[in-house]
């Protein structure tokens, strides 16, 4: 049993990678503090939509898996959420959480698929998990 309350985002470190609820709490916490950014190059309308749908994405997401980011002090998470407006539509996203001085400083959403603008459709959790594995995420 961990001595820490892993639902407290402030107690997460980059070496405690697999506690999905805790990572979910961390992302919501960063978003509340204005520390969740959406950035993709080239910029497309899909990422403008992602910005507008962040609230819904964060409300319903499941953390599928993780991998260490290319840059030091970064952990990347694969996420999936059902579109609350469409039973047959889901969103797949990847977020990079960056630490500085032992504390998570911000999260960067760098991938967002909603089945539009040539992005894959991710209707089901199984499809999302498979997509995450293809992206080299560790999916337990």
């Amino acid at each position: 049993m961990s001595p820490f309350d892993l639902t407290d985002p402030n107690l997460l470190t980059i070496s405690t990678p697999w506690v999905p609820q805790a990572w979910h709490a961390l992302l919501r916490d960063l978003h509340t503090k204005g520390r969740l950014v959406v950035q993709h190059e080239p910029w497309t309308p899909r990422y403008e939509r992602a910005r507008l749908k962040l609230r819904d994405l964060l409300a319903g997401l499941q953390v599928l898996g993780w991998q260490h980011g290319e840059q030091e002090g970064a952990l990347e998470l694969a996420l999936w959420a059902l579109d609350p407006n469409h039973i047959r539509r889901g969103w797949y996203a990847c977020v990079r959480v960056v630490w500085r001085d032992g504390a998570p400083t911000y999260a960067h959403l760098y991938c967002f698929y909603d089945g539009r603008d040539q992005s894959p459709s991710v209707f089901t959790l199984a499809t999302a998990r498979s997509l995450a594995r293809d992206g080299r995420f560790h999916v337990p």
């Binding site: 969740l36 190059e41 403008e48 910005r51 962040l54 407006n85 960056v98 400083t105």
Partner: protein, 172 residues
């Protein structure tokens, strides 16, 4: 935490709700990988200004504009159908094809304006002369919102040259 402080200013063209808009320059923050981006909260006043501009027009909503307004207002499509007095399947068709017809669009625009600016609508009396038609209400309410709430100045603009298309971010 200094990595999220503004380092420069951003572009003045954004594609929002399926159209291009000329907007005031916003602060950009630089990420450790060298790229720059806008903070989500900095975009919110722009989104609200776009919502007013869309609702002010006495024209039918496009699917993109309807989706944008729903996302901004946090409106579920099932509730949208209730407000519009239609079946949910009609909403699905609106969002996939041509948007709601003019009458429903004006009705929905009125709902969005009143819902997105509750602080304005709670304290305002609309004159009888502005209540004859939905288009009159929209014009009057939009103008009154602009007078009472400081919104960024925006205006629709043609799409920028292809090289800059969909790229509100500066190259790093």
């Amino acid at each position: 935490m200094s990595d999220l402080l503004p380092t420069s200013t951003g572009p003045t063209h954004h594609a929002i709700a399926g159209r291009w808009w000329d907007v005031p320059s916003l602060p950009l923050i630089r990420l450790p990988n060298g790229s720059e981006t806008l903070r989500v909260e900095d975009m919110e006043p722009i989104y609200k200004a776009v919502a007013v501009a869309l609702c002010e027009e006495p024209t039918a909503l496009t699917p993109e504009a309807l989706e944008f307004l729903c996302d901004l207002a946090g409106l579920r499509h099932i509730r949208l159908a209730e407000i519009a007095g239609v079946d949910r399947s009609a909403v699905t068709v609106w969002l996939r094809r041509n948007g709601p017809p003019l009458g429903r669009s004006l009705h929905l625009k009125r709902w969005f304006l009143l819902h997105l600016f509750p602080q304005f609508t709670a304290a305002t009396t609309i004159p009888l002369s502005a209540l004859a038609l939905d288009a009159d209400i929209l014009r009057w309410v939009s103008a009154a919102i602009r007078e009472s709430i400081p919104l960024p100045r925006i205006r629709p603009t043609p799409a920028p040259l292809p090289a800059a298309a969909y790229s509100p971010l500066r190259p790093s």
